[in-house]
Symmetry: C2
Subunit: 348 residues, 2 copies
């Protein structure tokens, strides 16, 4: 009998996760939310625990040629905390496992941990455990973050309702443009090692890729103003991809207004320098770690008071599909790949 | 200024962990136990949560040439649950992150997950989240296990008291001998690919390395019989190393009786075939995932009724040191490397 072989690439990341977890049944009474959101939720006698995990691999998720180890440690924690905040929860603890080859010195690992501890301190989180291994190749980081939320007050990806407003925090596409600069400077350096990179006037966008911050401030502000989002997700893969997650899991459609999508001027300038469309960067560029969430229409006036939150569209019936309305008034079906996909779409 | 470079090897694994965590301060009121035990403990309003994490790397922790993926999935879960049981707690949930290169097919990953789900089902644990990444090289597994324990009823490595009895579950050294067989068969196969390995009459010891079981049964038995260990650790690195952890963290010494150390007949036979000392395997061979624990003297009669538990020694004052009493009546200072270290010891 010939053994079947299905290539992982044929399923894609989300397809593979669905495939691997589709028969996963939970038996613990305390399991409130399992695989498929930013984090899982466990009941603990009056409070609920939120738990999320992320793996970062050298050569896949980061390039040590332009990522200072201190920043990497900070970022590894930040992106995990971002998942906890995206549940409308407060992070409290992390565990950290690393795999390191002998090309790293103790001083190098110390720098990495400096970043880890700095992030923990800033976000009031305890590092409570971990594992340290030798790796044959590459630096491997795995973090699990734990948080707390009042019973039933966590926010999933699946609660968006027709007419809810779609909101994003901060601005989008900056981290992606920052990455383009770092990649360009790396190429220049490899060709002419004498040339020192000049990142002076691109500090903002380079900072967005190297040292992202989870939007604790936004979650805290929403809590203070008693705004309970109906759905929420953090933007790690780009606005299109995350909005599709919310629409799919909430079984709704949406209209997203191009002109409402917040893009920083520095991002726009750099996009033009690279001959790219700033909108593409915002829709498909990942790693901004902003929050995408939906709120009820009645919360509009409160939301409008926070200049760090943009209302970028609204939720529609599922039958309407997931749409982008361009500045020119054209409606495009939104795909996870973002702008690249538009060329294949008929206008509707 | 010249940058200092300290080699990681100069600190060793435990030295590195100490170095990296020595300034780690916890701020969360809920943090009851942090870095430095089998798992951490978090308070959750009436119950306590135990959390532990482990990373397994291809080429370091496992060799896919003789490790079926289904067994690997099972073992990856088992070794994490073992840490939770070693806290005298019940595992409830795990998260699983994997990094896989495109040399793996979906069918191969399915096999791995089959093993993961089988272990979860057997131990009544829910898989509630994870992360799936591409890796440039090698299979990477990171699991975080979560468990529950009644407030204050967790057992650490630091509670052993003078005169407590030292106990181990099951038998030791079997996994190490199983590994020797697999390594030998791999070598034979690489030299003569036509020769099929015959593991028929070594099923027990090969099973110990490929498919270890966490000793849930022992922990449950202790709970049922109301025996509260004073300290506990799971044996992943060998009896010497784990006993030194308990003695160091409890600030005590001990006498370990060579003749009391439980070694399976199959382990003894194979050790002789390999010209090794069975005692060395028991002291320094890792991966048995048995439990090492201490109990009060008054619990002796209860403990003696369980033929899966051996009393192997007793705790002494710290000044006495950590000693092995041989069958010949000689006293040796125990070192983490086990038998190899003896040659350098003077008799006392």
């Amino acid at each position: 009998m010939q053994q079947e072989r299905t290539e992982i690439a044929s399923l894609g990341e989300f397809g593979l996760i669905n495939h691997l977890t589709k028969n996963n049944e939970t038996v613990q009474a305390g399991t409130i939310l399992s695989v498929g959101d930013d984090a899982a939720v466990i009941d603990h006698f009056g409070r609920q625990t939120v738990i999320s995990t992320d793996m970062l691999l050298e050569g896949i998720h980061f390039d040590l040629m332009y990522t200072p180890l201190r920043h990497l440690g900070y970022k590894a924690v930040a992106v995990n905390l971002s998942d906890i905040y995206a549940m409308y929860a407060e992070p409290t603890h992390i565990t950290l496992s690393i795999g390191i080859s002998n090309r790293f010195s103790v001083e190098a690992i110390d720098e990495f941990y400096d970043g880890v501890y700095t992030a923990c301190e800033k976000y009031n989180v305890d590092l409570i455990g971990g594992d340290t291994s030798t790796s044959l190749k590459g630096f491997i980081i795995s973090i699990t973050a734990v948080g707390e939320v009042k019973p039933g007050k966590f926010v999933t990806r699946s609660g968006a309702k027709v007419n809810d407003l779609i909101c994003v925090s901060g601005n989008l596409g900056a981290a992606y443009m920052g990455l383009q600069i770092l990649e360009r400077e790396k190429k220049i350096f490899l060709e002419s090692p004498g040339v020192q990179p000049d990142l002076g006037n691109k500090a903002y966008i380079v900072g967005r890729i190297l040292k992202p911050e989870p939007r604790a401030d936004i979650v805290n502000w929403l809590m203070e103003h008693e705004i309970m989002p109906t759905s929420m997700i953090d933007i790690s893969d780009g606005l299109s991809s995350e909005l599709l997650h919310i629409c799919t899991q909430s079984e709704v459609g949406c209209i997203l207004y191009e002109e409402k999508i917040p893009i920083h001027n520095e991002t726009k300038d750099m996009a033009r320098e690279f001959n790219m469309d700033p909108l593409t960067c915002a829709l498909s560029g990942g790693e901004d770690y902003e929050l995408l969430f939906t709120v009820k229409q009645e919360d509009y006036e409160k939301i409008a008071r926070n200049d760090q939150i943009s209302v970028v569209g609204y939720i529609t019936d599922k039958a309407e599909g997931v749409n982008l309305l361009t500045k020119q008034g054209n409606k495009h079906i939104l795909k996870a790949q973002g702008w690249n996909a538009f060329s294949q779409q008929k206008k509707s």
